[in-house]
């Protein structure tokens, strides 16, 4: 029951945030100098064309009414029509979503595989230990080398020595799984380096914080085996900050890793939104930003519920 109430309050605040995100996206293209018609038509539009656009998009109505129409249309799955292909934007996004999802899952898996063990190992080690230095180096390196620098270097290296992996020439996983992996591993690696750094830093900090708790001293005094202490006391108590960064990172990845998708020509939602901007097809950009925020907020709501599973005290106190 407590959990149910907690989940309900999480859901409610998530919906409020979602509403705010929608309002922001709406405002971003309506409150610009010159207005929506100028953006669509460019500076040399005739007044007649302006009026036609105004009527078509309901720009002559009050802003609040426009916003309501816009929201209601989206609730019906209408995110606008691409001005270039005249097809519903949402269909195009859904068609590309699996590619971005695959990239995100691959990157997250790699980041977790490196980040978690190193973070925990550095957290339970003395501050002067070798693995602490390694963790700090991985953390500093990964958080500092931007994805497009790393991606450019990888493209350079792998275009000189091919080494089985491929750049460009994407094939869907369902058609050719091997070729698909060959094209996806490098971009996923590029994205994973930042994630690994994030996870190493957060995990190490969280573990270090838990290590000073009295119950760890008690466990050490009881003579419990180090591995046993880590497994039973440290991991669960250090989990919440780690879950937070992992879900944040995953949420941002799902929104479309624009730079990496552009760099490696991966036909995901990020590349689609970027090309939409290039074609002055702003319905795509708008829908892309809004969908990314939707996915992010949903993932965060799930994470909030996960907190209560990890630490039941949260649901009991009603704190967020």
């Amino acid at each position: 029951m407590r959990f149910f109430l907690y989940a309900l309050s999480t859901l409610a605040s998530g919906l409020v945030t979602l509403f705010g995100a929608a309002a922001l996206v709406f405002a971003s293209l309506r409150f610009v100098p010159g207005g929506y018609a100028d953006i669509l038509l460019g500076p040399f539009a005739t007044p007649a064309a302006r009026e036609a656009i105004g009527r078509r998009y309901g720009l002559d109505e009050p802003l609040f009414v426009q916003f309501l129409h816009w929201i209601v249309a989206m609730l019906h799955g209408d995110f606008g029509v691409s001005m270039v292909t005249r097809r519903p934007v949402i269909d195009e996004f859904l068609r590309r979503a699996p590619v971005t999802l695959e990239l995100a899952v691959l990157a997250l898996t790699m980041a977790l595989a490196v980040g978690l063990p190193l973070g925990v190992a550095a957290g339970v080690a003395p501050v002067k230990a070798k693995r602490t230095l390694l963790a700090r180096l991985v953390g500093a390196f990964g958080a500092s080398v931007p994805d497009f620098v790393l991606g450019t270097i990888l493209i350079f290296v792998f275009s000189v020595w091919s080494l089985w992996l491929k750049i460009g020439g994407f094939a869907p996983f369902s058609e050719d799984p091997i070729l698909n992996l060959r094209t996806m591993l490098l971009p996923a690696m590029t994205l994973a380096v930042f994630g690994a750094a994030l996870i190493v830093r957060t995990t190490r900090d969280a573990v270090l914080r838990v290590m000073t708790e009295p119950y760890i001293t008690a466990a050490v005094a009881r003579g419990a085996a180090p591995w046993e202490i880590v497994r039973r006391h440290v991991l669960r108590n250090a989990a919440i900050p780690v879950v937070t960064v992992v879900t944040t990172y995953f949420g941002f990845l799902l929104g479309g890793a624009v730079v990496v998708e552009v760099l490696f020509s991966i036909p995901g939602v990020g590349l689609y939104a970027y090309n939409g901007l290039g074609n002055r097809d702003y319905a795509i950009v708008q829908a892309g930003a809004l969908l990314a925020a939707c996915v992010f907020i949903t993932i965060n709501m799930l994470a909030d519920m996960l907190y209560a599973v990890i630490d039941p005290r949260l649901a009991a106190s009603g704190a967020r």
Binding site: G20, V124, R136, L137, A143, P146, I153, L208, A289
Partner: protein, 286 residues
């Protein structure tokens, strides 16, 4: 005091305690000085076309090679350092002031104010920075102002969240209550009693926000949405160089490595500041 009177001593003591941070601090100081005064150095003209052959490899005359118009690349990289640091520092500094103010107001007044501020921070946080970048570029056109706006949107929630949560725990403490009882105005309490106590958290956040700001600025410029030619930022130089990646890799590699070193130095200094303000001690498990 030692830091000001005898900087070399302070540096050596940092080097002995934590060599990684000392390297970061040195790199940061060198890069900032280069960015500020580098264009006075006798390293050639950044804008002179056909100063040498096109796409020449690095040599004594052109340490970073030349670009496709025969311009010496080293002075261009120095210009890029300047743009990248200036733009992101400007954006982060403005955002830090606004975010600290909002976070303090939310944490001190609580109630409806807090709800609104926290919600706005949540909303801003829920957009990936580059999609905000695309959105702002669509609305206002690409350029430096748009880049600053994107950095501000991405960094504001970082400040608001941290400042708000520190202020929330502070505002129940005895010295705040005592000031309230003594009749201090909210403005005085926030300025005199809360601000000094959250300054540490703000400084730590400042360095992380600066590194994120530099990543965002250079990523936007790399995508062609930030600094526009003929101006140069490290991101736009990398964009320019990556077109000639196979014939003239030194263009992309030099700007990319300088950019990475710049961001890493900010991160390492941030780590050192954080370690000094809130040290985390490890312990052995036996």
């Amino acid at each position: 005091m030692n830091l000001i009177l005898r900087p070399h001593r302070a540096w050596f003591s940092l080097w002995r305690r934590d060599s990684l941070s000392a390297i970061g601090l040195t790199t940061l100081v060198v890069l900032v000085l280069l960015g500020l005064f580098g264009h006075y150095l006798p390293i050639g003209d950044a804008t002179r076309i056909a100063a040498g052959p096109r796409l020449a490899p690095p040599s004594w005359r052109f340490p970073f090679g030349t670009d496709e118009l025969g311009r010496s690349f080293l002075p261009r990289v120095v210009l890029g350092i300047r743009a990248t640091f200036l733009l992101s520092a400007l954006a982060v500094a403005m955002t830090a002031c606004l975010g600290t103010l909002l976070g303090m107001v939310a944490g001190y007044f609580r109630g409806a104010t807090d709800q609104i501020v926290a919600r706005v921070a949540d909303v801003l946080f829920s957009f990936p920075a580059l999609l905000i970048g695309l959105l702002i570029a669509a609305a206002a056109g690409p350029g430096e102002t748009s880049a600053v706006a994107v950095i501000a949107v991405a960094a504001l929630p970082l400040f608001v969240r941290v400042v708000r949560s520190v202020t929330l725990t502070l505002s129940g403490r005895g010295f705040i209550v005592a000031a309230e009882v003594a009749g201090a105005s909210p403005l005085r309490i926030m300025g005199v009693h809360i601000l000094p106590n959250i300054a540490g958290a703000v400084v730590v956040q400042l360095t992380y926000a600066l590194s994120i700001g530099m990543i965002i600025e250079s990523a936007l410029s790399f995508l062609g949405l930030g600094v526009q030619p003929p101006d140069a930022s490290l991101g736009s130089l990398l964009r320019q160089g990556s077109a000639y990646l196979t014939f003239a890799p030194w263009l992309a590699l030099s700007s990319g490595l300088v950019l990475s070193a710049a961001i890493m130095s900010v991160n390492l200094v941030g780590d050192a500041v954080r370690d000094a303000l809130e040290p985390l001690q490890g312990r052995s498990l036996t």
